[in-house]
């Protein structure tokens, strides 16, 4: 059975990927990063809207989660790419987006948008759980000192909620790295598209899909190391080391710090 596999191709793809593959990997990574950042920001807005005293905002927040958690991501990606411009009557998704230093293909923009908006619905729940985990006395103390809601959130509640939010946020990003493979369906040349195209040219599925799976594993593995380091630092902070939370987060994020045990 194994004889049917061209191991030379596998080693080639694992050890000496060409520059086209690296570009595809780069695309995968930046789509994941931008979509995740977008998801966190949208999730934060939606989480705050959820606890608003204006019912239309609470309603919108609920509707957002209902729609984007309740429908397939693939449908959302297709809808944004093929349908958004027609639905809105203006160009939300351009053919190409020129950002000065580099430009993004329209499909990439659509992919990021769909992934980010979808992620926001999940992040809302994570951020909400983080905010809810903070004792109500904290908000009361902030209010009794004359802080308004926004200031209290920014200075008192969110910095504490971050400890609860960071671990599941790490898992979300792990997911995001892999889920980006869906955008190959709208023609984005990312890692999986690269594998798929080689497969369709050579009909060697084992070789190319095995190799691309390996590279996804490399990405999620590296992220796993970073995530573990961040969580170890956060756990240390729970034990009450005398450093500010901001210092600890900065240390945890410092690239060199990720590989050094304390």
């Amino acid at each position: 059975m194994l004889a049917a596999v061209d191991w030379h191709v596998v080693w080639q793809r694992l050890l000496h990927p060409d520059h086209v593959f690296f570009r595809a990997m780069y695309t995968t990574v930046y789509i994941a990063v931008i979509a995740q950042v977008m998801g966190v920001l949208l999730g934060l807005v939606a989480a705050l809207m959820r606890s608003s005293r204006l019912w239309p905002l609470r309603f919108l927040s609920g509707l957002y989660v209902l729609i984007f958690r309740g429908t397939p991501l693939l449908v959302q990606i297709f809808f944004v790419y093929y349908g958004a411009n027609l639905l809105l009557g203006f160009t939300l998704i351009p053919n190409s987006l020129d950002l000065g230093l580099f430009s993004l293909d329209g499909a990439v923009v659509a992919g990021i948008l769909a992934l980010g908006v979808n992620e926001g619905a999940y992040m809302r729940e994570i951020i909400r759980a983080g905010i809810d985990s903070i004792d109500t006395g904290q908000m009361e103390a902030a209010k009794s000192l004359g802080m308004r809601y926004g200031l209290a959130m920014r200075r008192v509640i969110l910095p504490q909620a971050a400890r609860v939010i960071v671990p599941p946020l790490g898992n979300e990003f792990n997911n995001m790295l892999k889920t980006t493979s869906l955008v190959f369906t709208i023609g984005v040349y990312e890692m999986f598209a690269d594998a798929e195209i080689h497969y369709s040219q050579t009909f060697q599925p084992v070789e190319f899909f095995l190799a691309v799976a390996f590279w996804y594993l490399v990405l999620t593995g590296l992220w796993g190391i970073v995530q573990a380091a961040i969580e170890r630092r956060l756990a240390a902070s729970e034990r009450g080391d005398q450093e500010s939370f901001r210092e600890r987060l900065a240390q945890a994020w410092a690239p060199a710090g990720a590989f050094v045990r304390r």
């Binding site: 006395g137 902030a142 209010k143 009794s144 000192l145 004359g146 308004r148 200075r155 009450g240 005398q242």
Partner: protein, 254 residues
């Protein structure tokens, strides 16, 4: 009678179908320390939470320094005030909580300067100098850079008092400030409060500490079933309480 700092008139408050305050009226003059006593469920905590509008009221009116708290008058009706002006009113009403509610991600001194810097806009250097003095006053200048998690309950509560004082309030509300403390550290908190009371701070203190009431209070107020049933000097309460409920209550806690 000297200038009134806080005036509550016929305050009513209900949680759903449960009426917690059934018409509470109380006036507190400048420099006065008033202790509110009463069994749990008598509405005393709810009442002081109404004074800085942590709870809305259903009827009546509360003023601090002549300013209506939480509401504004419009065509003879009371409407809830904007968040902005409620926040501004709260800057002159300090509050010390039963469970301290210090910000755990900030050191003692950061807790104290937080609101002066970010609410009042005091320059950080100046706020730090003031905070240092306040922490010295509560006997914690050596704990400036320590996080609340590393402080004892009594120390945390003293930081919380310094935090309230840093806003230079006209009035400080204490919500059972020693109830969550170990008996051996209640003394350090009470002595700080006693000093404040004698230093002319206007204070409303919900407490079971009759010893504190005896040395620091100008007036004691007994609440029961959502109303004030008896009011008088500490001596009056110790020597000749009139109301049957007061006698019962005092015999239990003394």
């Amino acid at each position: 009678m000297s200038e009134l700092v806080m005036q509550a008139e016929d305050v009513h408050k209900r949680f759903g179908r449960l009426e917690v305050l059934k018409g509470v009226s109380l006036s507190v003059a400048k420099g006065e320390t008033v202790c509110i006593i009463g069994a749990s469920g008598s509405g005393k905590t709810t009442f002081i939470r109404c004074i800085n509008h942590l709870e809305k009221i259903d009827a009546g009116r509360i003023t601090v320094n002549g300013q209506l708290i939480g509401y504004r008058e419009q065509n003879g009706k009371l409407r809830e005030d904007s968040e902005k002006s409620i926040a501004r009113q709260r800057t002159q009403i300090g509050m010390v909580f039963q469970r301290f509610n210090l910000f755990p991600h900030k050191t003692a001194i950061e807790n104290v300067i937080e609101a002066p810097v970010h609410v009042l806009g005091v320059p950080e250097q100046e706020a730090r100098a003031t905070a240092l003095n306040l922490l010295r006053r509560v006997g914690l200048e050596d704990k400036c850079d320590v996080y609340p998690g590393k402080l004892s309950g009594g120390q945390q509560q003293r930081v919380a008092i310094a935090r309230a004082l840093a806003m230079n309030p006209a009035l400080i509300l204490f919500d059972e400030p020693t109830s969550a403390l170990d008996p051996e550290v209640t003394g350090e908190v009470l002595s700080v409060m006693e000093e404040l009371a004698h230093g002319g701070m206007t204070m409303i203190v919900v407490t079971h500490e009759m010893g504190f009431a005896k040395v620091a209070a100008d007036r004691v107020v007994m609440m029961d079933g959502g109303v004030i049933i008896e009011e008088g000097t500490p001596e009056h309460f110790f020597e000749s309480p009139e109301h049957e409920r007061t006698k019962q209550f005092l015999s239990k806690i003394l």
